[in-house]
Symmetry: C2
Subunit: 216 residues, 2 copies
């Protein structure tokens, strides 16, 4: 039955064409600028055809999001090789933010557009299923913290998950603020990231003193 297979192949090809066109538009102009009619023009099909391949515009966004997340993971993979856990943590912070600075529209799509887009990555119900791509990537950071604690590079107290969420949200802040209103920041974003990572790691390396209360 070669005909059935060819049909399946053609169907997959057109679906891919739609995604390719959509991706180009999103990377060039952002998700807001993605319209069904523009995709239709690009692939030379009527806009209505797209609905035979995707439920709606949001579904296209979700798929692009999943792909961008793979991009982010590929981007981050090399830093996982850094043996020194302290340096690995610094590398993670720098690499994550660099991804955002170098791929602004992908970063926006992933983390600044629609909560629904992240739900394919981090399903809402089953919290922390290690099979979810988001959870896997996040474990990458948690593991680095565990290793740093084990190596004595940072204080052994403190939940590694909470620590990972802390650096993630902090780094996200630098990227998102830069992407939303770059001109407001006087300091180079990369310099802020470096300072932030250094300061946090130094703060975690320090033994507790009497000036500091309840690290919660």
């Amino acid at each position: 039955m070669g005909i059935v297979e060819r049909k399946e192949r053609q169907r997959a090809e057109l679906r891919e064409q739609i995604l390719t066109a959509a991706r180009r538009i999103v990377l060039d102009e952002g998700f807001e600028a993605l319209t069904m009619r523009k995709i239709g023009d690009a692939i030379e099909y009527s806009p209505a055809t797209i609905y035979l391949y995707f439920e709606n515009r949001e579904a296209i966004g979700r798929q692009l999001c999943a792909e961008s997340f793979e991009h982010l993971i590929a981007y981050m993979t090399p830093v996982g090789q850094i043996a020194d856990p302290y340096e690995r943590l610094r590398g993670i912070g720098r690499c994550y933010t660099r991804f955002g600075f170098e791929n602004p529209e992908e970063y926006r799509l992933l983390f600044m557009t629609d909560p629904a887009f992240m739900e394919a990555l981090f399903p809402p119900d089953n919290t922390a299923d290690p099979k979810d791509p988001g959870e896997r990537a996040f474990q990458f950071v948690v593991d680095a913290f565990r290793a740093a604690q084990a190596a004595g590079a940072i204080r052994p107290d403190g939940d590694p998950v909470a620590l990972a969420e802390m650096v993630w949200t902090a780094c996200h802040g630098v990227v998102s603020m830069t992407l939303t209103c770059n001109h407001v920041l006087e300091t180079r974003p990369e310099a802020i990231v470096d300072m932030l990572c250094d300061t946090i790691l130094r703060g975690l390396a320090t033994p507790l003193t009497s000036t500091v209360r309840s690290a919660s």
Copy 2:
């Protein structure tokens, strides 16, 4: 000329009505849900009338944004009273993020919607004019860092402006990530903020050690 004055008053009143209706919609449903027709319904005027009072939808957003910024400043003012500069810095971080958690739509409007909205607060050309409301509020944080340095609560090196931008963006990260996809974070946002502020301040209190390179 009481007639002219009454007309001006009426004009100002309708303008205020428009803003009140718009504010209600934005606080309840977010800026995306703000439509000219909804405002028209609420004030019992045709949507076209709104254009006699505001240039366009964005101009309404800008005005609401300016008001929300005043709200944020009012929110933050009490922490300015804290004498101990170390505690004041902690208070600033907590208070800022609490504003975001308690007034999510205002926070979104201010810092997560449209860069243009911030331009009334932080005009793009004349960088760091102390008359801009954004600059004034930001100086609040810079001053706290300067005081902390002067008091020896944190290391004296490090540009206070860069430090202020660092904590601002980091705190922004916790708020914006929470507002965009709360369910992804396992740790309570407030706990992340506390840990973040403590860690950063501890990192800044520490004298430089050999493990730490180039604080940039």
